[in-house]
């Protein structure tokens, strides 16, 4: 095993399938024999609250369940306000994958706070790290809306970027999601590979 391990933060809002995403990824790394710690921090409010998952895999025992700011290799984010919350946690050579999806925050909706004046997508692009922006709107076709399955799309993008065997990852998807959703999920996975190849 050349790769001795990585620290990943997976971020987004409730209902985006982040827990399934980290579950699928944990199966992949478990199969390869890595040791893992995955810590899910879920805010109050079942829908629409921030969700943050600290995912660590290593050839050595993983100590802290939380990744120290500055130790994050990959930030995989499904919502761009949430992306901004973790940019400072990345290593100098850390890499960002972020969806342009945005769920407006309740404090801004209700005028308790002002929204940031800048474009959030631009802030992410200019963060000084290698960034990959995924726009679910631009990538949806009439017969297939990927915005509902961004977790699987992101999984494929990440796997392509890391040079992982897609067939193995797709097998994990097949084994893990209910039978009626397998076809749609695999379609989303293929779409993810397509998006990643176009980067």
């Amino acid at each position: 095993m050349q790769d001795t391990g990585k620290n990943i933060i997976i971020a987004g809002v409730g209902g985006q399938g982040i827990l399934l995403f980290s579950n699928l990824l944990s199966k992949y790394y478990s199969k390869l024999g890595y040791q893992l710690k995955i810590s899910d921090v879920i805010g109050l409010g079942q829908r629409g609250g921030g969700v943050e998952s600290h995912f660590r895999y290593s050839t050595k025992p993983v100590l802290s369940p939380f990744i120290k700011a500055g130790d994050v290799d990959y930030l995989l984010s499904f919502e761009q306000t949430e992306t901004l919350r973790y940019l400072h946690c990345l290593k100098d050579d850390g890499i960002v994958f972020s969806s342009t999806f945005e769920l407006s925050t309740s404090s801004v909706n209700t005028r308790l706070e002002k929204d940031m004046p800048e474009s959030k997508t631009e802030l992410i692009k200019q963060c000084g790290k290698k960034t990959f922006i995924i726009d679910p709107e631009k990538n949806k076709s009439e017969d297939f809306d990927i915005s509902k399955m961004m977790n699987i799309v992101m999984l494929a993008i990440y796997a392509e970027f890391r040079g992982y065997a897609h067939e193995e990852m797709m097998q994990i998807v097949r084994e893990s999601v209910p039978a009626k959703f397998v076809e749609g999920n695999l379609k989303a996975y293929e779409k993810g590979i397509e998006i990643a190849k176009a980067f």
């Binding site: 893992l36 810590s39 805010g43 109050l44 921030g50 369940p65 769920l103 309740s106 209700t110 308790l112």
Partner: protein, 606 residues
Amino acid sequence: MSFFYMKQENKFSTLKMMNGNEAVARGAFEAGVKVASGFPGTPSTEVMDYTKHSYPDIYCEWSTNEKVGLEVAIGASFAGYRSFAVMKTVGLHVAADALGGAAGSQINGGLVLVVGDDVGRIAGDDYNDVRHYGNMFNIPVLEPADSQEAKDLMIKAFEISEEYSTPVILKITSVICKTTSAVAIDETQTYKVSCRSKYKVSFSKVIMTTMMMNAKGSEHPKLTKCFHDFPAEMKRLAEDCNDFDINRLELNGKKIGVVTAGTPYYYTKEVLPDASILKVGMVMPLPAKLIRELAAHVEKLYVIEDGHDIMEKNIKDLGVSVIGKELFPKFPEMTRFTPDIIEEKLVPDAPKRKIMDGIPFRLPVSCAGCSHLFISQILRNHKIKAAADVTCGLIGCFPHMESYSLQKCMGSSIALAHGYNVATDHKENFVAMIGDGGFWATGINGLMNLIFNDSQSTTIIVDNSCLAMTGGQHIASSDFGFNYKPENKLEIAKVCEAIGVKDIVTVDAYEFENLEKAILNAVNSGTNSVVIVQKPCVTKFKLPKGDVYSIDQELCTQCRKCINIGCLAIESKKGEDGKVEIVINEDLCTGCGLCSTACKFDAINQ
């Protein structure tokens, strides 16, 4: 870690990924637990869910409240069977009297209290620490640092409970509960229950201290059978725990020594690899000899513990000087430890990293279509003063909604409103809103109280058929549950009637005008009244989605009345041209139509 971990392995063991809650349930199974009871509470609710679903041989129940849950476990333990009760620390406040009764009494089957401390959540209960109960009642508290330990310490807790005749608290935090890591499992292990009847009686300390004081020296068996020398048992435990393998002294560098427990142990190991560490698996009582040994080995001794400064005080009581909260100030400076905090304080020249400024906060919001939104809206529209309870509806207290002016603990709102009304000579009808979970838990007492004290008050009971806030567990009025039978279901209206409420009306939450009328009638009735608002929890029962609503931008004046309903589906968004628009998120909208009743300009339609 490796030392403790290797010991668990045998030729049958396989590694399984489990979160802390799942591992505690596994520990209960391996310990041969017969009865599991308790009350849901984040973060430890899933301990019961996993126990029920993975180990069907164990009798499981969600009790009406934490006190009842613990009493059930105490009774089962006296019968000779290993039992546990699960709750969060805030719930243990409710059950504290029951714990006080069990502490220091004779224990037959091991009795364990699994308690979740919700550390580190901005919207959680960061002000509680279950270990205070260990100090107050003089009972042991164990704290795991990962899932493997959660399983192992659950088993150890039963052994300690029986060996030293004491209830044992297993403290789990939100970090333990929600972190997944590998646990060694012996898949061939079968479920074994044993019955241990050491004592014929088990009485509270009040009875026993009476015996102790009056019967000293008497050998009469009628007296000695009631006598239980609990202080001696705890003294023995405090001595023995220096040799427990769950308390581990890792002597290393001489500069820094740290006494730590739980996940902060791993933060310390990662940030200070050269430090000498005493990792305690039992945080109460502390292994005094090991602490002194570590103190003698190092130049500076620190204590790194989540929650309050409890180990710190107990170490100082031993006469050992230790640095704790003077270096690591507790709440509000921190809600829980992180590796970053330890690095900032103890690693010279550590790089500082700061979160970007101005990122907006996500204030908790109700799910779209929640019946609470209808009630909050009506109370606000009619400026009805009201108390909220601990329920999803407490979101109505937040500043964007301002539907409630009073909110305290679970089950309190009915008595709070009654107190207000008595003090103000019933001149304004201060209304109580309570969820069905809070009503059955303790709120029902408030209702009985106001009736027999001849008070008039209006209570709105939100009947959503489950305990929604913790993920939809069953309650007495649910149509499902672990031990559910239709004939045993309690009807809220019938119970209110039996208690003696004069005016009871049941309405569907989505019939806005009826609901409004019912609430206004009740408030103005001049007698004690209950409005039962029915709608199953949208999230738990996945209600079918109606036709979604949208906002006609031509008609919208941006008065923002709809936004202040507090519905997650209504957003204020900047369009492509930079202009702000109020829009309805069609993925989130359930079609309940509340927003259309709020719009004065007919801009919101299906």
